[in-house]
């Protein structure tokens, strides 16, 4: 809310992309170029520096959690601080879901990370601000399937 996010990238300290979500239509080539440039720029920043960046005509808001960088692109008139809190809320959600999340959780279960993100941000806007509601929605979807799989563990053609 009050932020129209253009895209969100998660990458490691080594510059490896861990998650990417694009809320504006861009070609694959552009996406790759943007990712490369941004990862480079953000990694080059020193730890005490500002969490905001001007980049082309966008604002980049990034934050590092352990070995993982969370990086969002917003428009110039958007609120940078609240974007930082969006990142933080997302991390909280991941943490709650995975139980003290680490980079490996996201690497190996990135589809779950995507599910949580989609439940939290939709089309670049904050969809649900209640942590409880987001997790409830995810768990509902998870729960509905799990038993089914145990009972009908037969491939569907």
């Amino acid at each position: 809310m009050s932020v129209h996010m253009q895209f969100m990238l998660l990458f490691s300290r080594q510059g490896k992309l861990r998650l990417q979500k694009w809320y504006v239509p861009l070609s694959d080539k552009e996406k790759k170029k943007i990712t490369r440039e941004l990862v480079q720029t953000v990694l080059a920043r020193k730890p005490k520096m500002c969490s905001f960046l001007e980049w082309r005509d966008l604002k980049i808001v990034y934050k590092r959690y352990a070995s993982l960088y969370f990086c969002c692109a917003i428009e110039d008139q958007d609120n940078e601080l609240i974007t930082l809190e969006i990142i933080h809320r997302y991390v909280e959600l991941l943490d709650k879901y995975f139980g003290s999340v680490c980079e490996l959780d996201i690497i190996f279960n990135f589809e779950k990370a995507y599910f949580i993100l989609d439940e939290f941000l939709l089309g670049g806007e904050v969809q649900e601000t209640s942590k409880k509601n987001v997790l409830k929605a995810i768990e509902q979807a998870d729960l509905l399937q799990e038993p089914r799989h145990e009972y009908f563990n037969v491939p569907v053609y």
């Binding site: 809310m1 009050s2 992309l17 998650l19 979500k21 694009w22 239509p25 861009l26 694959d28 790759k32 020193k46 005490k48 520096m49 500002c50 969490s51 905001f52 001007e54 980049w55 005509d57 609120n79 940078e80 601080l81 609240i82 930082l84 809190e85 879901y97 995975f98 139980g99 003290s100 999340v101 680490c102 490996l104 959780d105 690497i107 190996f108 279960n109 990135f110 589809e111 995507y114 599910f115 989609d118 939709l122 089309g123 806007e125 904050v126 969809q127 649900e128 601000t129 209640s130 409880k132 929605a137 509902q140 979807a141 509905l144 399937q145 089914r148 563990n153 491939p155 569907v156 053609y157």
Partner: protein, 1148 residues
């Protein structure tokens, strides 16, 4: 969940190397997604080089491709493949073969598989992807599902990507969901509608009241989702939602007051996202609206008060709050609180908050410059902050407080920053700001030139083309003081010569172009102290450098040519000519030849390249009248009159279709030549003539003459016309703009600026330096009121106040509209290009054209163009009576007498006074004809009056009942005509016409198909004792539909170039018609044309054929002949109008 990872990791060794494609259906499918993916991930991390990774992934993709396309692959395995595909895509490898399978998976899978399928679709495809259409059916099916999770998934994917054209397919289903009992479904439905609103606002127009319902939803999430839509709608049209202000205020009050469920708290702050959204909406609603703003003061105050906890999230709210307070109609005590708040940000040790503090300061500085003063020390510190973004924002802030006294320091800081910056976007942005400040506040010539040098060096080829254009224009046009102008130019020349002296320096192309132009135009200023040979040698050297592009070389050659024209023979020139005469670059070779020929005729060269004349007027003979003799000669020899290309083509086409029954040849040539001069032939006759000449043996001759004309037109019709046109209008702008500019300038006081220059930083006394810097930066802020900061009524001298500043700003405001409105045909407008200077290419053409002419034949022509004539000198049109003042002479040829509109209707010869047709007062104010009887019988008489209103031809029909009994059901019917259209329909019904009385009806007529003169037939039917019909006819001529078109000379110039259909004809003038102005006066009166301008023996006339087809005339008198040249976008109009002109000229 994390134990899954551990399990995976421990199982890894066994799984590595298990990459057989499609482990087969059934049992092996159990190999869990995580483990296969895990295997892939592990093996990738184990690799050391990018090359190995690529090999591995390619192998993986090949396997995946085989698996997904195998018919036996289970959906479960497919799901697992999709996850791996997503991973490969994230690593940057193309996997489009899987897209279709993602859609299939979403369609066919069970919940778990469907979820992955939808995820893959939303990650792989963008909203314009064609495959997305295949998803629509699945979405529709899932939206109707009874399973909540399925509905949620469908709504989620719709809110992310959905093809715009398929919205109608799902819209009703989603609207239904707004009433769903589950709040999550309602919320997602609102979210989906928001998405639709963004991509196709028209599609959701009808459900605006449902948005209101969502706004009132009992669930906070649904209400919050609807705010997205409202924010967007209010952004687009805030006035439409003022009535909701109170609702938003109430919601915000509740949120701030902690009335929401605790779930929505974030770090014990109630629903911060919601608060910020609402604050933003309030800001938009309260902007420039004191009454609406009044409603929100309380809640804003409360928001400020409540946000006290020292946490990022409260600062986020505070920031938004401050921004809202400064956006809406101001309230002093709130502003004070907001200012305090900004102080908290600025002074915060946290860098993020400091940044936002600067951002807020930048936002409010124009309203409250004292705030900058309060925080000046912090700002100074931020200027040297190690983090570039803080510096950048500080510069942005300083940019807004720049005035004549601190400009040198601020520009220096900006340049320092630029030198370290490599990002193109920053460079473009900052460079234009520096150029703007330099031009506005430059304290001295030297400083200005040096600053601009820096701008050009750094901005180079990425900067906005306006910058060099404006700079050159400023140099060329100068400002009020001639001496100052000269000094500035002289300094520029000296500075550039110095720069070019350095052998190995590489400058950007744009900079070189600027230098060349300045040296070419103004190097004569240093002639007494410098040798032109030296300048030419330097330019010559540049020509040989490899980094110089051919475009820049053209500029350099132009400069050399200009310098050469001012000097007697030179060795460098000879060398240069010799060198480039054999160049492989054809352009350079051409320039060399031009230069060579010019050097052989010094007088011609001087004439062609006058000194310091870049701003002088040039009068262009656009009609190419100097060729009239040639044309006349050709015509008298029997050549066919010139027909424009399109007309020839049309004729050729029509010829090909039909058999030609006309005999060939005959004595047409002589008749054609006579027609050329006497012009007695009708246009139809003309086109017939040329049709036939196309077949005759004269083909070659005609071709020849037309070719010649084409050639000339190409050079001088479009491009060649531009420079002249440009400088002419430039001058006019200046003339108009001088008075306001000088009055402004008159109030200004010169300030000594010396202290602004003392910016020396010595590390030993850092603090003192900062103080000093502060005093130089914030000078003018303390003493001056807020007004001076707005930069509107600055008390400092504006050094380079351009004479044409005002007209320029107007132009620049108009510019976009011109470009938007203009259809393609309007594109090559000289004004649009020159005034806006949008397009450096064009300007550069303009400059170059002046010196680079391609043949000596044209050179002579150009000299004949340079007759010094100014437009204002001979502005005669004021003397010409407007046709409106004397409409009595209109249509003298139409057998209808015209009334003076102001006169009372004079007595008409009619037997019965009550049956005299008279126009209503309103209509009578327009030019109109006398009423003429169309038809009559014993019982009825029909009179007609033509009224020529501004936008149509009005036929007023008077039906008089002469009998002694009332007539019922009288019908007036016009027959359908292919030429005319009657707007109100063909018939008119009079229910009753009383005895001895008169009824009237009005019909406005439009010309559908172009014609000279056509008849409109109608009849009047009534029933008395028997059915009776009276027939009548009305003659309508082209002139009935011609109206004057009031345009300016500039517009005329623009339009003229954009029209492709033209006709030229010489018409003999009788001695009584004498001068051009009398002849034009006649045309103006008789044909309702508008005389735009008269210059010497040339006149511009404009008219339009209703409803809005323009036609332009260029008239020129020449040895007792009136040369008429007509142009219009409509192909038939010039012919027809020419005919009318000929008729008028003959008759008088």
């Amino acid at each position: 969940m994390s134990d899954v990872v551990e399990r995976t990791l421990s199982a890894l060794p066994g799984l590595l190397g298990q990459h057989e494609p499609g482990a087969g259906p059934g049992g092996p499918g159990r190999a869990s997604a995580t483990s296969r993916l895990g295997g892939l991930i592990r093996s990738i991390t184990a690799l050391s080089s990018k090359h190995e990774e690529e090999k591995l992934i390619q192998q993986e993709l090949t396997n995946l491709k085989a698996t997904v396309s195998a018919p036996a692959t289970t959906l479960r395995l497919m799901k697992e493949c999709m996850v791996r595909l997503i991973y490969c895509e994230m690593l940057g490898y193309e996997s489009s073969f899987g897209y279709i399978h993602a859609i299939k998976l979403a369609q066919q899978g069970n919940l778990l598989e469907k979820r992955v399928g939808y995820l893959a679709v939303s990650l792989f495809l963008h909203e314009n992807h064609e495959l997305l259409l295949l998803l629509v059916n699945t979405v529709v099916k899932d939206l109707q599902s009874t399973n909540l999770v399925e509905v949620c998934m469908a709504l989620t994917v719709v809110s992310q990507i959905f093809p715009r054209e398929m919205i109608p397919a799902v819209l009703p289903l989603i609207e239904d969901k707004l009433q769903h009992s589950k709040e999550i479904i309602r919320r997602k439905a609102v979210q989906a509608l928001y998405k639709f609103y963004l991509i196709a606002p028209n599609q959701v127009q009808h459900i605006h009241d449902k948005f209101r319902k969502a706004l009132c939803d009992r669930d906070v999430g649904v209400m919050a989702a609807s705010l997205h839509i409202y924010l967007q709608m209010i952004k687009e049209n805030s006035s439409g939602y003022k009535d909701l202000t109170e609702s938003f205020v109430t919601i915000l009050k509740q949120v701030v007051g902690g009335k929401l469920p605790i779930d929505f708290n974030y770090h014990s702050v109630p629903a911060p996202w919601l608060q910020i959204q609402l604050l933003r909406i309030l800001g938009l609603l309260g902007k420039d609206d004191p009454r609406t703003s009044e409603l929100m003061y309380d809640v804003l105050d409360e928001s400020l008060r409540r946000a006290e906890i020292n946490h990022n999230i409260t600062y986020a709210i505070l920031f938004e709050c401050v921004q809202t307070i400064y956006t809406i109609h101001p309230k002093p005590d709130l502003l004070e609180k907001a200012a305090k708040c900004i102080g908290k940000f600025v002074l915060s040790p946290k860098i993020n908050l400091k940044y936002l503090g600067l951002k807020a300061l930048t936002y409010v500085i124009q309203q409250d410059p004292n705030l900058a003063l309060q925080h000046q020390m912090t700002i100074i510190e931020c200027l040297d902050h190690p983090d570039p973004i803080i510096k950048r924002e500080t510069l942005e802030l300083l940019y807004r407080i720049t005035n004549g006294q601190n400009v040198t320091v601020i520009v220096q800081k900006m340049l320092d920053y630029l030198k370290q910056s490599k990002e193109e976007y920053t460079i473009i942005n900052l460079v234009s700001k520096i150029a703007e400040l330099a031009e506005k506040y430059a304290p001295a010539n030297e400083w200005f030139i040096q600053t601009m040098n820096a701008v050009f060096s750094i901005g180079g080829d990425v900067m906005h083309p306006d910058i060099p254009n404006n700079f050159l224009r400023l140099l060329a046009e100068g400002f009020d003081d001639e001496k100052e102008d000269e000094q500035l130019r002289l300094y520029a020349v000296q500075s550039y010569l110095g720069l070019l002296e350095e052998e190995d320096a590489i400058y950007p192309q744009k900079f070189l172009q600027v230098m060349s132009w300045v040296l070419g135009e103004y190097s004569y200023l240093i002639n007494h102290e410098g040798d032109p040979e030296v300048i030419m040698t330097r330019l010559h050297k540049l020509l040989k450098k490899t980094f110089v592009t051919s475009e820049t070389k053209a500029w350099i050659m132009a400069a050399i040519t200009k310098i050469a024209s001012l000097n007697r023979g030179s060795k460098t020139i000879d060398k240069l000519i010799q060198e480039f005469s054999t160049s492989l670059d054809t352009c350079m070779r051409q320039y060399a030849f031009e230069l060579k020929h010019l050097c052989e005729d010094k007088d011609l060269m001087k004439n062609l390249l006058p000194r310091d004349a870049s701003c002088n007027d040039m009068v262009v003979d656009a009609s190419l009248s100097f060729l009239d003799g040639f044309v006349a000669e050709g015509l008298s020899r029997g050549a066919a009159p010139y027909k424009p290309h399109h007309q020839r083509q049309e004729e050729k086409l029509s010829q090909e279709k039909a058999l030609n029954f006309e005999p060939y040849g005959l004595s047409l040539s002589s008749s054609m030549s006579s027609s050329g001069f006497t012009g007695r032939q009708s246009p139809t006759g003309l086109s017939l003539g040329s049709d036939m000449s196309g077949n005759s043996t004269e083909m070659g001759q005609k071709e020849m003459s037309s070719l010649k004309l084409d050639g000339v037109k190409k050079l001088w019709g479009k491009d060649g016309y531009l420079p002249k046109k440009e400088s002419k209008t430039g001058k006019e702008d200046k003339l108009e703009a001088v008075p306001p500019g000088s009055t402004l300038g008159g109030n200004m006081v010169d300030h000594p600026l010396s202290e602004a220059d003392q910016e020396v930083v010595s590390p030993s006394e850092e603090e003192k330096e900062k103080q000093r810097l502060a005093s130089t930066l914030f000078v003018g802020l303390a003493s001056d009121s807020a007004v001076s900061l707005m930069g509107k009524a600055d008390t400092t001298t504006q050094k380079f106040k351009r004479k044409s500043k005002i007209s320029e700003t107007q132009n620049s405001e108009e510019a976009p509209s011109i470009q938007h409105d203009a259809t393609l045909s309007f594109r090559p407008l000289p004004e649009a290009q020159s005034n806006d200077n949008e397009n450096i290419q064009s300007t550069e053409h303009v400059r170059l054209r002046k010196s680079s002419l391609s043949s000596s034949e044209v050179l002579e022509a150009s000299i004949s163009f340079k007759r010094p004539q100014s437009l204002t000198e001979a502005r005669l049109d004021a003397k010409l009576p407007d046709y409106r003042l004397s409409p009595s002479s209109l249509f003298a040829d139409n057998n209808i007498e015209v009334f003076q509109p102001s006169q009372v209707i004079p007595s008409v010869v009619a037997s019965k006074a009550s049956l005299i047709p008279s126009l209503s007062e309103e209509l009578a104010n327009n030019p109109h004809s006398e009423a003429v009887e169309l038809c009559s019988c014993d019982t009825l008489a029909v009179n007609l009056c033509k009224v020529w209103t501004d936008d149509c031809l009005l036929l007023v029909l008077f039906v008089a009942n002469r009998s002694s009994s009332a007539l019922k059901n009288v019908n007036l019917v016009f027959e359908n005509s292919e030429h005319f259209k009657i707007v109100e329909g063909l018939s008119y019904h009079f229910p009753v016409i009383k005895a001895q009385s008169l009824e009237s009806c009005q019909k406005s007529v439009q010309m559908e198909k172009n014609c000279m003169q056509e008849i409109l037939v109608g009849s009047l039917n009534y029933h008395l004792e028997m059915e009776t019909g009276l027939e009548f006819s009305v003659t309508l001529s082209l002139t009935d539909f011609i109206r004057p078109m009031k345009i300016t000379t500039e517009d005329f110039g623009k339009l003229w170039l954009s029209f492709s259909n033209d006709v030229k004809q010489n018409v003999k003038m009788s001695p009584s018609q004498g001068s051009l102005s009398i002849a034009l006066n006649t045309l103006q009166q008789k044909l309702k044309l508008h005389v735009v301008d008269i210059v010497g023996n040339e006149g511009l006339v404009a008219c339009q054929l209703l409803p809005s087809v323009p036609c332009l005339l260029h008239c020129r008198t020449h040895a007792g002949m009136l040369a008429l040249w007509l142009r219009s976008p409509c192909s038939a109009l010039p012919d027809s109008l020419l005919y009318q002109c000929q008729k008028v000229m003959e008759e008088t």
